[in-house]
């Protein structure tokens, strides 16, 4: 994906985003008080975003158009480049979705172990190493926050039942 192609897509995305938000700004209640209304400042920001996104759109379009004569490659996103980031996103979503059941201690250990295995590979030796790292690191942090800083971290239904 060339820069101008991605800029073009991002500019269109930002324009759509600004449009949706400007539309939603009309739902902001007016309490009828004197002075600046609650929707005034966000509208200013969003209209400026529209202007800047339009500038980006125009700039990337013209650059893309001139480049297009030389380069006729199709639009492609190299997912393999983002593989590790996507794995992190996936693991994090899993961690957050199961937080109510597993709690911060178990969920954290599962998250760290899972991520270490996905990013670092799996073998018996690595598995033991990853498990020890996840148990020790999360266990330590859990103890610091629970007993040191008195933060009530999510317990999780599994531990509660147990």
């Amino acid at each position: 994906m060339t820069n101008n192609k991605s800029d073009l897509i991002i500019a269109i995305f930002l324009l759509c985003f600004s449009g949706i938000m400007i539309n939603d700004a009309s739902n902001i209640r007016d309490l009828g008080f004197e002075g600046m209304k609650a929707d005034a400042w966000p509208r200013v920001v969003l209209w400026m975003l529209v202007v800047m996104s339009s500038v980006m759109l125009g700039k990337s379009y013209f650059q893309f158009k001139t480049e297009n004569h030389k380069d006729n490659s199709t639009f492609k996103i190299n997912f393999s480049k983002f593989k590790n980031a996507l794995l992190c996103f996936g693991m994090f979503i899993f961690f957050l979705s199961t937080l109510d059941y597993l709690g911060m201690l178990l969920g954290g250990i599962v998250f760290v172990f899972g991520l270490l295995t996905l990013l670092g590979g799996f073998s018996m030796k690595l598995g033991i190493k990853h498990l020890s790292i996840s148990v020790l690191s999360i266990g330590f942090m859990w103890m610091v926050f629970t007993f040191g800083l008195r933060v009530m971290l999510p317990e999780g239904e599994i531990l509660r039942v147990w």
Binding site: P42, M52, N84
Partner: protein, 548 residues
């Protein structure tokens, strides 16, 4: 005032817990600064959750330790392996690494260490002297002036943070928009909540910041599978005995360079968004220009180490001046500190030093004391650094990602904050990939509410919108904003172009106008100097053009 300084000093220096926390903070900062891929801002952000349970002064002292430690930590990896730990130690490697390779690692580290120490001390003195004066000046500001100052802070961040100004402006606007989400500060009306009670509360500052900065950085660090699995540093170094006495003598002997570089650092720090990454290169460049033996630069010159290291530590003092006196963060690290103060229900501004003198002077003293910890802990942190560099990045990233989640949860004890961090982490990651600078967005998030509050106050006080242009301070900051927006064009313009020739003198002449309007004798003298210098430069350049 002296008794307040003494009391504040006692609250920091005589409290073993505060001192212990500062020592831990400094050690963490030294390590965070030394590890390539980690930044000082990330170190400070990750320290923030631990400070929730502390008193404001303990929390700030801990973060001050991380800040000062981080600024000096970068020199260890830069000198010993040639890979700068942080952007603020890039120029240190130019001469530090060759000196180490020439067989003088102890002297190189000593020079870096003591230059950082003296640079920090000079800026600490300036901080104590200047911040209250600047705060006094800030009491003159009305909401119009404050709003214009925020606009200036955002535009200068945009102009200094990357090649693509449009993307920088978009990032800043996205930050301002993120600050609009949730209940509005003035009327308490929900905005962009889409029916969610959680979004109605708005995005808390910390999850947004951790997501944008730390989460996205960690994802970038593990992007390349091969690099992520390898130890943090391919090159390793042996423990070194630092040559303290020789280094101190050399730093003191080169005092002109030390003071010049420190003042460059302080000035750069005062400018919003211009941090140590700029000051260390500027100071190195000036030291090289001023040196008699320029040929030695790049081969292990003593001045080439003193300049960047004293400048980057002095930058911290400059950035703190702006944050403490006006409530405007000088860089991302001070933006985080501002957020930390807000979490403790303290809002820095012109009246902050007067209203909370114990806390304000406590911060000054913590900054001062952190430099002593930095010197004392350098040798120990060097050993730790050599151990940490054997760990692969994917291990550190996985553990820190989990820590981020726990830290963010600790803020309000709600899972929604972790989702916010994750959401902004994804946004931050793609923004990095697409070439959007993150600094303007972070500043937008930090200053968004303040900007809205001030513009609302201004409009509530008077319907006259021209006050933004007729009030001298407001006009001054708006003109500064225009000058800063034009700065990248000046940087890219060819030396012979008309724009490049007139940019500086015209800027000086234009900025003199609001200073004349202020009326006070000192400001009128400064205005006259600016006007005369600008006119002289224009005259000189016109004559040189005619001669050609």
């Amino acid at each position: 005032m002296f008794d307040i300084i003494l009391q504040a000093g006692a609250s920091v220096l005589l409290d073993p817990l505060t001192l212990g926390l500062m020592a831990i903070g400094t050690l963490a900062g030294l390590l965070a600064g030394a590890i390539p891929g980690f930044t000082i801002a990330m170190g400070v952000i990750l320290t923030l959750p631990f400070t929730f349970g502390m008193s404001p002064i303990q929390g700030l002292a801990t973060m001050m330790g991380v800040f000062v430690g981080g600024l000096s930590g970068g020199l260890m990896s830069g000198m010993l392996t040639g890979i700068p730990g942080t952007p603020s130690s890039v120029a240190t490697t130019f001469d530090g690494f060759p000196m180490v390779r020439a067989g003088k690692p102890g002297l190189a580290l000593g020079l870096g260490l003591w230059s950082s120490f003296f640079g920090g001390m000079i800026s600490a003195v300036i901080l104590v002297a200047l911040a209250p004066q600047l705060a006094f000046l800030g009491l003159e500001f009305g909401p119009w002036d404050y709003f214009s100052l925020i606009i200036f802070a955002l535009t200068i961040t945009v102009s200094l943070s990357g090649d693509n100004m449009v993307k920088g402006l978009i990032a800043g606007l996205l930050g301002l928009f993120a600050a609009c989400v949730g209940e509005d500060e003035i009327n308490g009306v929900a905005r962009f909540a889409f029916g969610s009670d959680y979004i109605r509360q708005g995005f808390a500052f910390l999850p947004v910041l951790i997501g944008l900065f730390a989460f996205s950085q960690l994802l970038s660090d593990v992007e390349d599978s091969r690099k992520a699995k390898a130890p943090l540093m391919a090159k390793t170094a042996d423990p070194v005995r630092v040559e303290h006495r020789k280094a101190i003598a050399l730093v003191i002997r080169n005092w002109i360079n030390l003071f010049r570089s420190s003042f460059i650092g302080i000035f750069t720090g005062i400018l919003p968004a211009a941090g140590g990454s700029i000051s260390n290169i500027l100071a190195y460049d000036q030291a090289k220009k001023a040196a008699k033996n320029r040929d030695e630069f790049g081969k292990g010159a003593v001045d080439g180490i003193i300049a960047p290291e004293s400048a980057n530590n002095a930058t911290a003092g400059g950035a703190l001046i702006m944050m403490m006196a006006l409530g405007i963060p000088g860089d991302i690290v001070t933006a985080v500190m501002l957020g930390a103060l807000m979490i403790h229900n303290i809002i820095p501004g012109p009246s902050f030093i007067q209203d909370e003198p114990m806390l304000a002077y406590g911060v000054f003293i913590a900054f001062f004391a952190a430099h002593f910890f930095m010197v004392g802990l350098q040798a120990f942190s060097l050993r730790l650094f050599l151990l940490v560099t054997r760990i692969p990045m994917y291990v550190l990233a996985s553990v820190i990602l989990a820590y981020c989640a726990i830290g963010v949860f600790a803020l309000h004890n709600i899972t929604f904050d972790i989702w916010v961090m994750f959401g902004f982490g994804v946004i931050g990651y793609f923004m990095r990939k697409l070439g959007f600078p993150l600094a303007p967005m972070i500043l937008g998030v930090v200053l968004g509410k303040l900007a809205e509050l001030n513009i609302a106050r201004a409009i509530g006080t008077s319907d006259d919108y021209f006050l933004f242009l007729t009030r001298p301070w407001s006009l001054f900051f708006l003109l500064m904003a225009i000058v800063s927006i034009l700065f990248p064009f000046y940087q890219n313009a060819s030396k012979d172009s008309l724009f490049s020739k007139i940019y500086v003198p015209i800027s000086m002449m234009v900025l003199s106008f609001p200073l004349f309007l202020m009326g006070s004798p000192v400001r009128m003298i400064i205005a006259a100097i600016l006007l005369l210098t600008g006119s002289f430069l224009i005259y000189k350049r016109t004559v040189s053009l005619k001669t050609i």
